[in-house]
Structures are given as structure tokens and as C-alpha cells.
């Protein structure tokens, strides 16, 4: 029987890539007086629900789509967590 699995995928810019959005937010936080804020990095959070019989298969698909479309390996990394939707 197919079950719904939710893949929670985080895509972040590689450390070597300048994150201009993060920099802008970092400056804003410092202007607000949060002097202990050291840095801000902004990424994307994506939830994908996949109907599969086996968790392993759902995980394989989640990894495949993360590499193929959801992230660009030239400048981004991704991480994912998979859970069964109750």
C-alpha cells in the first residue's frame, strides 16, 4: 500500500558564494541593535509529499529531485529529512 511521506528539504548557498540577502538582513539586525549577531545565511525550505510503498524508495526520489531540480550543485547544498505523514 502506498503511504504519503513528506520530504523536508533545505537548500542553502555554499559557503564560498556571497549571500547578498543574508548580508542585507545581517546589516538590518545590527542596525536594530543586535550587536552579537555575527552572520546571517538565507536558504530555501521545500516540502514535497511523495506517495510510495517503501520509505527507501521515497528517500531515493527525494534525493533525486533535490539534485536534479531543487538545488543547483554548482552553488548550493541541500539536506533532507523524510517522515511518514500520520
Amino acid at each position: 500500500m502506498k503511504m504519503p511521506y513528506t520530504a523536508k528539504i533545505k537548500v542553502t548557498l555554499r559557503r564560498s558564494i556571497l549571500d547578498v540577502q543574508g548580508k542585507a538582513v545581517e546589516h538590518a539586525l545590527k542596525n536594530l541593535g543586535y550587536g552579537t549577531v555575527e552572520s546571517v545565511r538565507i536558504g530555501k525550505y521545500i516540502e514535497v509529499t511523495i506517495n510510495e510503498e517503501e520509505q527507501l524508495q521515497a528517500e531515493r526520489i527525494a534525493n533525486e529531485i533535490s539534485q536534479k531540480l531543487l538545488s543547483n550543485p554548482v552553488m548550493e547544498n541541500y539536506s533532507l529529512e523524510l517522515e511518514l505523514v500520520k
Binding site: L18, V20, Q21, L69, L70, V74
Partner: protein, 234 residues
């Protein structure tokens, strides 16, 4: 002699498609043919241009969704067979996402969307897209992008340089490659690159917006002219 047919791809969100069509049509013996993203038919085009704009709203990453559109499967095949493909601005982003060119374009260094004239120079004038330029030319061609900051790992940059694949660089008005003349933070001031085979070119500046005196510059015309003369075998 039959007209040279040039395909201009239209994605939802393309906004330089008609400018490109207009520029292409201004050359004698050349006819543009518009190709909708959902089609699989290149309609006999002898070269393909991917125009600027915001294909699919730039969702996810610029060019990332366009790369999987039906027409792109044909364009990728067309390029792999060695036929000419030119990507301008968003079209360059689509070519990088497709893997037809190497590297990526991230947010501009200074966070701003830039819509301005730039000066660039052709670095390699022996390609089918640049043969009508001379290496000491300084071209005035506008840019209009938020994500034009070219990045690639060191080994890719070295390989691009070794194989003469850097086609255009941002320069000052004298043609000097300086940090001050770099509008968006691109590595090595790169404004455009070509693939190893020499049939796929991507660049951020808009040659179609520099194709008529009224627009302030005609320096983009020689790029189209180089390509069309190559196809016509002149």
C-alpha cells in the same frame, strides 16, 4: 536564396522575445520564427535564441524550470548536434541550468537589480558569434539583471581560459578589465562564455537592445551578423 530561419524561444515570463524578434528581422535575408515553450518542434530553425526575461517567474532559481520545458529538450538535442544556440540574459541562465554551459549565476554583488549601459570587450573573436568583432573593440551594450554574478569552481575557470571559452568581459570605457568596471561581481569580469565546441554562447548583456541607433548603440548588431553570416555560409 532561402531566408536564414532563426528560432526565438518564448517561455511564460520571457520579455525580450519581441525585441529579439525585431532585431533578428532587421537583417536582410533572415527570418525569425517564434517557438512556444510547450512545443517540441523547432520549425526548421537553423539557430536558436533563448531571450531575456523571467521564465516561469524566476521561481526556484532563474532558468531552473525553463530548462525542463518541452522545447528545451529539443534545443539541448539541437545544441548537442553542433547547431548554434545563443542565450541572452535569462537565456544564459537557462543554458547554465541545462548544463550546455558550465558555471552558475548568483545574485549581483551589490544586491541591486542593474539596468544600465555597460562596456564590454570581445575576448575571443574567432567564434561563430564574434567573428565580426575585433579584439580591441569596446562595445556599449546594456545589462538588465538581478542575478548575473558569474561563478564557477577554479578548475572550470582555468579550463575556460585554457580553451579560449571566455567570449566577453566587462571593461571600462577604454577596454581595461578593472574591478570598478565589474557591475555584478562576476569572476574575472566574465560577461559571456562559449562552450568547448563553439556552438553555444551565453551572455548577460543584451545585444538586441543595442541594435538600433535610436536605442543608443548598434554595437550588438555584429554579434547577430557574425552568426547569420556563418549560417548563410558567407
Amino acid at each position: 536564396m532561402a531566408d536564414v530561419l532563426v528560432g526565438v524561444v518564448v517561455f511564460p515570463g520571457s520579455n525580450c522575445d519581441h525585441d529579439t524578434e525585431y532585431a533578428v528581422a532587421s537583417f536582410e535575408g533572415v527570418k525569425p520564427v517564434m517557438l512556444w515553450h510547450n512545443e517540441h518542434d523547432l520549425k526548421g530553425a537553423q539557430a536558436i535564441i533563448l531571450p531575456g526575461g523571467f521564465s516561469y517567474g524566476d521561481y526556484l532559481r532563474a532558468g531552473s524550470i525553463a530548462r525542463f520545458s518541452p522545447i528545451m529538450q529539443e534545443v539541448i538535442e539541437f545544441a548537442r548536434k553542433g547547431f548554434p544556440v545563443l542565450g541572452i540574459c535569462n537565456g544564459f541562465q537557462v543554458l547554465l541550468e541545462s548544463g550546455l554551459l558550465e558555471g552558475a549565476l548568483s545574485r549581483n554583488r551589490d544586491k541591486k537589480f542593474l539596468c544600465t549601459q555597460t562596456t564590454i570587450k570581445p575576448v575571443n573573436c574567432s567564434t561563430i558569434f564574434t567573428s565580426r568583432y575585433k579584439e580591441d573593440d569596446v562595445l556599449t551594450i546594456p545589462i538588465a539583471h538581478g542575478e548575473g554574478n558569474y561563478f564557477a569552481p577554479d578548475e572550470v575557470i582555468e579550463s575556460l581560459e585554457e580553451h579560449d571559452q571566455i567570449a566577453f568581459k566587462y571593461t571600462d570605457s577604454l577596454g581595461e578589465v578593472t574591478e570598478a568596471a565589474n557591475p555584478n561581481g562576476s569572476l574575472k569580469n566574465i560577461a559571456g562564455i562559449i562552450n568547448r565546441q563553439g556552438n553555444v554562447l551565453g551572455l548577460m548583456p543584451h545585444p538586441e537592445r543595442a541594435s538600433e541607433k535610436l536605442l543608443g548603440s548598434v554595437d550588438g548588431r555584429a554579434l547577430f551578423e557574425s552568426l547569420f553570416m556563418h549560417i548563410a555560409g558567407v
